[in-house]
């Protein structure tokens, strides 16, 4: 076996290895991959999505660790190669290891370029506190952590990365100012007019943009306090993100005597100049004077490299990529290829601009060939344009047809127009042909095709085109993604069907459901949702299986980052007594509770309680659970109301307590947080609660539903205005029960209410248009009757060791049996 060593476990390195494996490399090479980042291989492009919170880290990994093992690849993650000895044919790594190779592939990518700006660095800790770059998972994590508790961020650089960073960081409530030294945004890809329109769209997102702004210094003594521009202006901020471009990682190559200019020099075979055994691929290479900063070219390079390394096709050659980029930047579709502005007087230049809608399209034609195009906001024609650009296809006489589909079924056209080789997803290098054959191989859902090919899982700008192609390939026979409507991933049914089946078959435990409805196949991810549903449906008849519950619901407390728990006793309506406070204080002393905190839900949180102490803490508190841990009815916040407040027009405290007493602890698809406030000044924030009650003049009460002020902010919709507290309680019961029975798992009321529609909810719950009311009330009454304070379990645990620590705190008694013996 030959030894193949790869330096760099990024997108190009990993892709090259995949291509090599596809060409039978598994039997030919023993492969070792070095990756400085201590992770498997992930899709760097998706860091933008991780930053903006639309994707979680787990979702962006391309090759799982098992993949490396299955393919016999020794992954040396977290290990940096420091030197290549070309003569001895070994690489030396920072862990002291020396690894011999027969063939070496260098794929070290790039790192952020940080301009020499005064105050950027800090004598002791590399960058100044509060200064970040954007390249790796770790960078992304660090930014997220820091943005959470800071207010104003300045992003330096108005290119792809800067815009993505600016957009992403907004999710954390920071004010974002974007500084760009050139006159227009993304000037590398866009002409001036397009750049100006893009700027408008970006500013509409609430991002402040300063162009022609050169950053002279980062100011602030031990943490960032602002930046100073060359023109003297000062911009205060407590966080700085530098996205001023990238530089290829060539140090190792240069140090080892390989030919390096701006990047590592390679020939058309992706072989390092004059190095028979060393190849290079990705952003770290310079080919025919060109370096690339986008993934599309890497895919082409990786193929050629694999053909050469495996000897599959010695004639394979890379001739450079015509950089046609298609991206989603800060939510705006952008496509650009070739020239951005005409060069000769007889170049045809066709432009359409609609700044208000943020749309801009231009094409540049020379001798009847497309030599440049820019699309902004509407990229529906990008498919054809890219091909025309690549292959010099004949162009329609009516040039405007290059910019618009004039009549005719657009979708089919562009989907049919494309030929099989055309790359649809640039992020993951998926061609139309690959999509079509996947569909023909029997995958008939969009999601299925996307999973199988990874198409559309990058920046997402190609999703619509992928959808069109799948539709076209399936000849209209596209199937809906069934799983999208399932209540939980492990049982193939939507909620109504699932509830019907559960009732029909009388399934009262989670395992019973798996046995009867999922072919006996348990699914951990589905358990929590099923527990909630079964408890809601069967009340006292539900057969408990502790293992099926999330830890919080096994021990009736909220697990914390360190594995301890938080205890939040019930404090109805946020009203307490000196006696209660004394007891809480005593408990806090007795168990040396690390933190006692007033919660946003108007009660008191004892944080950092050890699992094994929970029963004792509950016993000493002698207060019921506040359910601060469950997907259940949480709190009813109140204000002082008419009893004390000079503006109060209703006794909000009394009503709040009454509501909490009735509906306490009910499990539900998502948390239910309520509030009652004594007048429209809304001190109890009732407008932004799952259900909020507002006392209005004349002894009447308004009931709002579907409000939120958490990750998502929404004012509730007015369900009804009623004359008495009793009516409030009745309608609240109907609404909560309807939500419990009809909302999807983890669907908060802020999405449920708009989904069903407030009009329909009024008809069903207030006017009782379909006669559901009585049923809802009966089932709610039953649920209320089944309420038991879970903290009573402290006295007699539900399972052995229910409250035993799961942490390596106290070593348990242990008896060695015997030495030796076999596994």
């Amino acid at each position: 076996m030959e030894r193949l060593v790869v330096i760099g476990n990024g997108m190009a390195g990993a892709r090259a290895v995949e291509e090599i494996l596809e060409r039978g490399g598994r039997d030919r090479f023993t492969i070792t991959m070095f990756g400085e980042e201590p992770y498997g291989n992930y899709n760097r492009i998706l860091l933008s999505n991780v930053l903006s919170g639309v994707e979680d880290e787990a979702g962006i990994f391309l090759n799982s660790l098992p993949w490396y093992e299955e393919n016999g690849i020794a992954l040396r993650a977290g290990v940096r190669v420091e030197r290549i000895d070309r003569f001895a044919r070994v690489v030396r790594a920072d862990d002291g290891s020396i690894t011999p190779y027969d063939t070496l592939v260098i794929a070290t990518g790039s790192r952020p370029y940080v301009p020499p700006i005064e105050g950027m660095h800090h004598p002791r800790r590399g960058y100044h506190q509060g200064v970040f770059t954007f390249r790796t998972i770790d960078d992304t994590r660090a930014m997220i952590r820091y943005a959470r508790d800071h207010e104003r961020v300045v992003v330096i650089g108005g290119g792809l990365l800067g815009l993505e960073a600016a957009r992403g960081l907004q999710q954390y409530g920071v004010q974002v100012t974007l500084l760009h030294s050139a006159a227009t945004l993304m000037n590398a890809q866009l002409d001036a007019q397009a750049g100006t329109i893009l700027r408008r769209s970006v500013e509409h997102l609430g991002i402040t943009v300063e162009v022609g702004a050169r950053t002279a210094a980062v100011v602030g003594k031990d943490r960032v306090e602002g930046v100073r521009l060359a023109d003297g202006r000062a911009i205060p901020c407590d966080m700085v993100v530098v996205a001023a471009g990238i530089r290829p990682n060539v140090e190792v190559a240069a140090l080892s005597g390989l030919p390096v200019e701006r990047a590592i020099l390679v020939d058309d075979h992706m072989r390092v100049l004059d190095e028979p055994h060393i190849y290079a691929v990705g952003e770290c290479v310079q080919h025919r004077g060109q370096t690339y900063g986008l993934v599309a070219p890497l895919w082409e390079q990786a193929k050629v490299l694999a053909d050469q390394v495996t000897g599959r096709d010695r004639t394979a050659a890379y001739h450079g990529s015509r950089t046609a980029t298609k991206l989603k930047v800060a939510g705006v579709d952008v496509a650009a290829m070739g020239l951005t502005t005409p060069e000769h007087d007889d170049d045809e230049f066709v432009v359409f601009a609609e700044p208000r809608r943020g749309v801009y399209k231009s094409v540049i034609i020379r001798d009847d060939r497309l030599i440049g195009a820019t699309l902004l906001g509407d990229v529906s024609k990008v498919g054809f344009l890219m091909q025309a650009f690549d292959r010099g296809l004949p162009l329609p006489e009516e040039r405007v047809r290059l910019l618009f589909d004039l009549g005719g079924p657009a979708a089919e056209e562009s989907a049919a127009e494309l030929d099989d080789g055309a790359q649809v997803c640039n992020c993951n290098g998926v061609s139309k042909g690959a999509l079509v054959s996947t569909v023909h191989s029997g995958v008939k859902t969009l999601g299925g095709v996307m999973d199988a090919t990874r198409a559309g899982k990058g920046c997402g700008s190609c999703k619509s085109l992928v959808a069109q192609i799948v539709e076209w390939a399936a000849g209209g026979a596209v199937e809906e993604d069934p799983s999208a409507t399932w209540y939980v991933p492990g049982v193939p049914m939507d909620k109504p069907a699932l509830m019907a089946a559960i009732r029909a078959k009388g399934l009262k435990s989670v395992s019973a459901v798996f046995d009867a409805l999922a072919g006996g196949r348990e699914d951990a991810k589905s358990k929590m949702g099923l527990v909630s549903l079964l408890r809601m449906m069967w009340g006292e008849e539900y057969q408990d299986e502790r293992g099926a519950r999330f830890i919080n619901d096994r021990v009736h407390a909220n697990i914390q980052r360190d594995g301890t728990f938080s205890v939040v006793p019930q404090m109805k309506g946020g009203v307490t007594t000196p006696a209660q406070l004394r007891r809480i204080a005593d408990v806090a002393d007795k168990y040396q509770v690390p933190m006692v905190k007033l919660t946003g839900g108007q009660r008191i949180d004892l944080l950092g309680i050890r699992k094994e102490d929970l029963p004792k803490v509950w016993a000493d508190l002698d207060m019921p659970s506040g359910y601060a841990y469950g997907k259940s009815m949480r709190t009813v916040k109140t204000c002082v109301g008419s009893e004390f407040c000079r503006f109060g027009v209703g006794d909000s405290t009394a009503l709040g307590i009454a509501i909490e007493s009735r509906f306490q602890g009910l499990e539900s698809p998502g948390k239910m947080k309520l509030a009652v406030t004594g007048c429209p000044r809304n001190c109890a924030e009732a407008y932004v609660k799952d259900l909020g009650v507002v006392a209005v003049d004349g002894g009447r009460w308004e009931i709002y539903v579907g409000g939120a002020a958490g990750a998502h902010v929404r004012k509730g919709d007015l369900l009804a205005t009623v004359d008495s507290p009793d009516e409030v309680i009745t309608l609240t019961g109907r609404f909560l029960q309807y939500y419990r029975e009809n909302a999807n798992w983890l669907e908060r009321t802020y999405s449920f209410v708009p989904r069903v529609g407030i009009g329909r909810l009024r008809a069903l719950l207030v006017d009782d248009s379909e006669g559901l009311a009585t049923g809802l009330e009966e089932r709610m009454t039953a649920a209320v009757a089944a309420y038991k304070d879970p903290w009573k379990e402290g006295a007699d645990p539900a399972t052995p060791g229910q409250f035993r620590t799961a942490l390596p705190l106290l070593p348990l008694p242990r008896v060695p049996v015997r030495e030796g013996g076999q596994a």
Binding site: L75, G78, E522, K525, G547, I551, L807, P808, L812, R814
Partner: protein, 123 residues
Amino acid sequence: MTANLVEYRVGAVAELPVGEARAYAVGADTVAVFRLRDGSLRAVSAICPHAGGPIADGIADAEVVICPLHQHAFDLATGCSQTGQPPLTVYPVRVDEGELVVGVPAAAISNLVPGAGSTTGVA
């Protein structure tokens, strides 16, 4: 493939509820032992490689356990993460006279314990 193995009796299997896990100190390690619904046992390191979460508090099915802190999933048989985390160590576990017996390999860990695959480092 045999190797030196130090085995420890850690507690009565009856004290380990079906479908749940408990953490035990085994030699120098802390091990989470799962009793699956089909009655079979799995033993993996009790501390999540992601951020130290308590694996014994996770939800499990026949194949995986999901850490309660950030929902990373680990294969109970191999210890491998399905979500790009470093693997959990897997330990041999058996029942002897109603007692859980967990083995800690004294040598040749990598070929005895899948998942602790030597080279994966902190991937």
